[in-house]
Every structure is written in structure tokens, then in C-alpha cells.
Amino acid sequence: MADERIPFATHAESTVLGADEIVLNMGPQHPSTHGVLRVKLRLDGEKVIGSECVIGYLHRGVEKIAEHRSYQQFAPYVDRMDYVAAVSNGLGYCEAVEKLLGAEAPPRARVIRVILTELQRIASHLFWLGTHALDIGALTPLFYCLREREEILKIFEKYCGARLTTHAFRIGGLQYEAYDELEKDVERFCKPFDKRVDEYESLLTENRIWVGRTKGIGILTAAEAIDYGASGPVIRASGVKWDIRKAMPYAAYDQYKFEIPTGKNGDTYDRYIVRLEEMRQSRLICLQAIENIPAGPIMGKVGKVLKPPPGEVYHAIEAPKGELGYYIVSDGTTQPYRVRIRPPSLINLEAFDKMIRGHLVADVVAIIGTLDIVLGEVDR
């Protein structure tokens, strides 16, 4: 067990056939490593006996940039980390700075934040489902997923003008008032959405090939998941009921009723089921939220120039991919002294080696897919 985390350190493991080990490089240019991830695989035949993820091809120094921008100026940068779920990134950052300032967003702003963030969670999961299925060879779900995601992006576009890197929230609340038909649009999307999820399920859930490709692949037990610090759907699929929306409610999540779906075996199939169920739960949250959006201001009382008192704060939210944390240190000036981001993709990716060992090369793409990583977030 000791050398498990250093896959290239020793050659103690004997191979079954006594054949030479091959080292295979996957990526950074490869259709299914979801960006510029490079994986070095140690193979015995087609069996993976060790792996190493080489990251950093997309490193842009986001944390360092923060030290030279004012608090407001840095906000758009966080959208570029997990570009598939920009709204969630923004929410985490804004709330962290608000906590540092001791300010709070007004109730109306908080509810709209919840709506948009949950829509973003659905969009992120949809994109994950489509690409994951595509990696395993199912061509069609991708387009169904993109069709629904398009609806969500249209709502974002109507709200703030951007589709992908939205910069939807501001520190202290919102910049834009909700447009007139936001509730209607969300309702029009959410009402039939559970049928749509059923549609994806009808393509995959009981498909023998899909089950064969995902069941028992990349098992992470509950204890291991906790050890690796995994979060989000990855840890929930292992059977740990951990969701920051329930554990440390933020925004307006304490007002809404929803379940935390968990899995049993912690394999790729369970992670798939958990994410699908999360989409359904997000839909329920959205439907509850649009029923009662409180009236009132959308911007709290924060000044034009933000000068938080010296101190530090850690604030985490449940992003679509897991626990997204911001640790911000202020020295009392207009610029943060240090920003440290805990990206869920990076921490989840660390479990990759544990999950892939003993599986075949074809399972690599399944496991990379099931971890739902975004390299923009892994490398920052």
C-alpha cells in the first residue's frame, strides 16, 4: 500500500505474463482527456498497473493574478476556471468576499442566485453526461443534452448577456434585476425537464453495454473517498451523504427542500445515477425558488471601493463538481493579499490512480469521464 501513490517509483509488482511493461502516453492532445490532461499509463498488455496524471498545461496563474486586482476586478477571472459552470464559481467568490466584508446580499438577490446556480448545475451535469456517454461510445445522448443545455444558456444570456463566462453576480448582490419573464422561462424549462432526464435514462441506464462498461469500474469506497478528500458526486456515489448545501447552507438553500442522492458501490455507474438524480433535485429547487422570489433591493450595502478589514476567510460552496472553496486573506487594502482556491476537479482527480489500477486501457476514458474534471479548474 505504501508505494501506491508513487506509481513510477518502484517496479516491484510482477506482471502476470512476464511481458515487458509499456508506458503509454495519453494526451495532452487526445480526444477524450477532456482538455489538456496528460496521463502516463504503465501497462501490462492492456491492463493498467500504474498511472500518473501530468497537469499544468492550462496553468494561467489565476491565484497570482488575484493579488494584483481589486476584489471586483478579480471576479470575472473565476468564471474562467470551471468554464462549464461559471455561475457557481462566481457565487463562491462573491460570497467569500461578502463574508470577509461582513456584508450580506439581500434576500431577493440570494434567491435569484440560487435559481441561476441550480440551473448552472443542471447545465454542467448535462454537459458531463453528453461527453461521458460520447467517450463510452454512445453518440446520441450528447445532442439531447446540448439541446437542453442550450435552453439554460439562453436564460443566462437573457439575464446577463453572456452564455458561458457569465459573471452573473456581483459582490454584495446582483448587478442586474431579473428580467420580466425569468420565472416563466425557468418554469418552462423545468416543468418538462424530468421527462427529459427519463429520456436519457431510457438510452443508458438499463442498456447492457452501458452497464457493462460502467458497473464495477473505478470503485472508490467511502473510506477511500474521504481519505482522498473527494467531494461532490464522487464522494456521494461512494455512499457518503455530504453536501455543503445541507451541511453549511449558503445563499438561500436553507429555505428549500431537496434530497441528497447517494450511491452504494462508488463505481462509475453509481456516479452516473447520482448525477442524474442531482439534476432532478436541482430542478425541484428551481421550481420551489421561482414560486416565491421576495421583492426588494438586489444590491446590499457595500461601497464602491471594497476594503475588507484585515483577516482571512474560507468559504466553500457545493459546485456541480464538488466542494469549491475560496480562502482569501485580506491585508486591509483594496487588493487581496492572497487568494487560494480549492478546485473540486483537482482534488477528485487525485483519486484517479487508485481507481484505474487493474482496469483496461479502454476504462481510462470512462474513469476520466466519470470524475467530471475541467482542466481549466485543475490547472487554474
Partner: protein, 439 residues
């Protein structure tokens, strides 16, 4: 005089048929690709190619021109001669295999008395094109793709062969023409006598043509493009041509063996003679649709194109309707089986290929070990049992005098029972093999 005409016919008809196959097949392939893209688009809530010609109807031609004028890149370290010749082997094998097919009672190059074996054997030679192409590219992805391809073909060829044997037992001949005639005499298509055999053949033929869900040699999320990774331009197009030709070949074999070849549905039942009008009706419907869509095209040229296309379909409808007129039929009695036979044959081949596409867009991809397990532990034993079952049914029917309706359903049920047992046993074995971490 008569003898001379006979001689000329015996020489020229096969020659013309051969020329038609070599000349038309690439075009047909192009349109199968277009059809595939359109079907895929339809299943995925998209439109597919719409730019070149109305509804993208000229897309295949544009693609072909593009591929022709593209640079033909040969990797530096490649074995040039073999790299050069490999795609040709694949295409040649595919096209040669078509020579024994009977597309209707008229259209056949050669009625070999080993017809079906010839098709199966020659089309299997296409694997050399894939293996040599993959090897000569001097690339790991290509080589892996080629090896997977060869292993897959060899494994599934066995199952497909046994499925074919099942149907051959029923027909009692290898000649493609006589197999179809045998189904006419027998009364039903062999798919109803040997449904399990048909199922095995469908699965095995998908695997043999490297189509999803068995497209591992070309699994783009794993092996980029498999054996054709290093190919470009027209040589790549030749591989594509070979792949689709093979699809047509396996579809034709299935049609000939199990789906009654050129026979009309219910060919022996006069009550269903109204089906003779179906070919013309279908063509008229398609033509009318073209005319209906014509005014909606954005450009004048496209409107004209659609109108011409619609009229062309009407023309085809007229030709297909001609033999139904009593006097024409009296004058040229061979016309009806010839034309209508070709229509039904092509319709069945088209449906079979559509089935391939449907499966491709529905299913995820198998993993290699799962693929091999399915082939060796399920399909091959089942195909052997299937042959025994059909043999048993034939004994019961011919020597013990049972009727069709008891003998064949009984043995089919027995075969299905074995299939269920095989599936159950495989599942149990799978459960024992479930991976439980490596420490």
C-alpha cells in the same frame, strides 16, 4: 443468328453488370454516407448536411471532389509499397464479393455454384487491406487498430459462418439464385424458420464490418482512428469505400439468405398481389415530396434541381409500373421479376443498413474483452446449437413428417432456451470476475 445473340448476352450481360457495380458503387457509397449522416442528424435532433445542394443532396459529390484533390500524405517511415497498395486490397475484395450477388433474377454477374461461400470468402480477404495498412503506417495507433480488427474479424467470422450454415441447410444449395428460389418454394423467408440464425448473423455482421457498437478498431475516443489514422486524401476515401461496400455485401448476404432476396413479401399469396403496386407508389410519394419541397428551396437552381429530381422519381415509378400493364407483361414476361426484384432487393438491403445505423446511434461501445467474450462464449456456441437445431427440425420435418409449424418453432424454442442458459451462465461468470481493487 439466335445463337450469336445468346453468346453475346452471355458475355455482355455480366460485363455490363460488372461495370455498373464498379461505376455506381462509389456513388451509392457516397449516398449511403449521406443517408447515415441524415439519419444520425434526425435521431440527434439536428438537420445534418444542408448546404451543398437542396437538403445536402450533392454533399457526397463535394466530399469526393475534396478527397480527390487533397494531398496524399505518406508517412516518412512507412513501408511505402504496402502502404500504397493496402487500401486497394480492401476495395477490390469488397467489390469482387459483389460479383456473385443476385440483385434480382436479371442482375447477376456470375451464378457460381459456390456463390455464397465465394462472397463470404472473398470479402474476408479485405482484412488484409486493414492489417497491412495498419502495419505499414508505422504508428502504434494504426497497428493496435489493425490487430484488433483482425482479431475481431476472425472471431466473428466463425459465428457468422455458422449462422450462414444454418440457412444453407434449409436451402440445400450455395448458389445465391437458388437460395432465393428455395425460399420462394418453401413459402416463407428463412428468417421465420431460423430467427436465431438471423439474429446471430446481424450481430456478427455488425462486428465484421467494424460498426458500432463493435467499432473498437476505430474507437476514436481510444485509438484516434485505428488503422486509418495515418491515411489521408483519396487513399483514406478508399478505406471508407471498402467499409461501406462491406456493409452492402453483408446486408446483401442477409437479404439473400434470410429476407427472401428479391422476392416480394407474401410472394406466393395472390391475396397480397396489391403489393405489386407498392414500388410505383413509393416512388410517386418520394417524387411528390420532392415537388412539394421544391418551391421552398432558397435558390432558383435548387428549386429546379428538386423539380427535376421529383420528375425523375415519377419516371422511375412509370418504369416500375410498366410490367403491371397486361400487354407489356405479355410482350416481355421477364420484365416484372427483373425490375421489381431489384427494387425489393435494394429496399431490403437499405433497411438492413438502416438497422446498422440505428444501432450505431443508440448503443455505447463494447470494451475489447467484453466483445471477445460475447463472440466466443455466447455467439459461437449459440450458432453451433442453432445449426443442430435446424438440422433436428429438418429431420423432424422431412423424415418424420412433422409440419413446418411444429418442427421449426419447437427447435427455435429449444435454441432460445440454450441462449438463455448461455446468457445466464455468462452473467454468473461475470459476477465472479468483478474487479475488487488491487492491493
Amino acid at each position: 443468328m439466335h445463337a450469336v445473340i445468346q453468346y453475346l448476352i452471355s458475355i455482355w450481360v455480366p460485363l455490363v453488370c460488372a461495370l455498373v457495380i464498379v461505376g455506381v458503387l462509389p456513388l451509392v457509397t457516397g449516398y449511403i454516407v449521406l443517408m447515415e449522416r441524415k439519419v444520425m442528424a434526425d435521431m440527434q435532433a439536428r438537420l445534418g448536411p444542408m448546404r451543398v445542394g437542396p437538403h445536402g443532396l450533392l454533399q457526397p459529390i463535394a466530399d469526393a471532389v475534396k478527397l480527390l484533390i487533397k494531398e496524399d500524405i505518406i508517412p516518412d517511415e512507412a513501408d511505402k509499397a504496402i502502404f500504397w497498395i493496402a487500401p486497394l486490397i480492401s476495395v477490390t475484395a469488397g467489390m469482387l464479393a459483389m460479383s456473385a450477388l443476385a440483385i434480382g433474377p436479371w442482375f447477376q454477374i456470375a451464378d457460381l455454384n459456390v456463390g455464397l461461400l465465394f462472397i463470404v470468402g472473398i470479402s474476408a480477404l479485405g482484412i488484409f487491406g486493414i492489417v497491412l495498412g495498419g502495419w505499414s503506417s508505422n504508428s502504434h495507433y494504426s497497428l493496435l487498430g489493425a490487430l484488433r480488427s483482425a482479431a475481431q474479424l476472425v472471431s466473428y467470422e466463425t459465428a457468422a459462418g455458422m449462422a450462414v450454415v444454418g440457412a444453407l441447410l434449409l436451402a440445400g444449395t450455395l448458389s445465391t439464385r437458388e437460395i432465393v428460389t428455395a425460399q420462394g418454394d418453401y413459402g416463407t423467408w428463412f428468417i421465420f424458420a431460423a430467427p436465431v440464425g438471423f439474429f446471430i448473423y446481424v450481430v456478427a455482421s455488425i462486428a465484421e464490418t467494424n460498426r458500432a457498437p463493435f467499432d473498437l478498431p476505430e474507437a476514436e475516443s481510444e485509438l484516434v482512428a485505428g488503422y486509418m489514422t495515418e491515411y489521408s486524401g483519396f487513399r483514406w476515401a478508399l478505406y471508407f469505400l471498402a467499409e461501406y461496400t462491406n456493409m452492402v455485401v453483408v446486408a446483401s448476404i442477409a437479404t439473400t439468405l434470410f429476407l427472401g432476396g428479391w422476392l416480394r413479401p407474401f410472394a406466393g399469396t395472390p391475396a397480397f398481389n396489391f403489393l405489386d403496386y407498392f414500388p410505383s407508389a413509393l416512388m410517386i410519394f418520394v417524387g411528390a415530396y420532392c415537388l412539394y419541397r421544391a418551391p421552398k428551396q432558397p435558390v432558383k437552381v435548387q428549386q429546379l434541381f428538386m423539380m427535376v429530381l421529383g420528375l425523375a422519381f415519377f419516371g422511375v415509378a412509370l418504369i416500375l409500373a410498366a410490367p403491371l400493364i397486361g400487354r407489356v407483361n405479355d410482350m416481355l414476361p421477364g420484365l416484372k421479376p427483373g425490375l421489381h426484384g431489384a427494387f425489393w432487393f435494394l429496399l431490403k438491403v437499405g433497411s438492413y443498413i438502416y438497422l446498422f445505423m440505428w444501432l450505431r446511434f443508440t448503443f455505447p461501445r463494447y470494451r475489447f474483452d467484453q466483445l471477445m467474450r460475447l463472440g466466443w462464449q455466447f455467439l459461437i456456441p449459440l450458432s453451433i446449437v442453432n445449426v443442430m437445431g435446424i438440422g433436428l427440425a429438418l429431420v423432424l420435418h422431412r423424415q418424420w413428417g412433422w409440419s413446418h409449424w411444429t418442427a421449426f418453432p419447437l427447435t427455435t424454442a429449444l435454441t432460445l432456451l440454450v441462449a438463455g442458459w448461455l446468457g445466464w451462465a455468462g452473467e454468473k461468470k461475470d459476477k465472479e470476475h468483478v474487479f475488487v481493487g488491487e492491493s
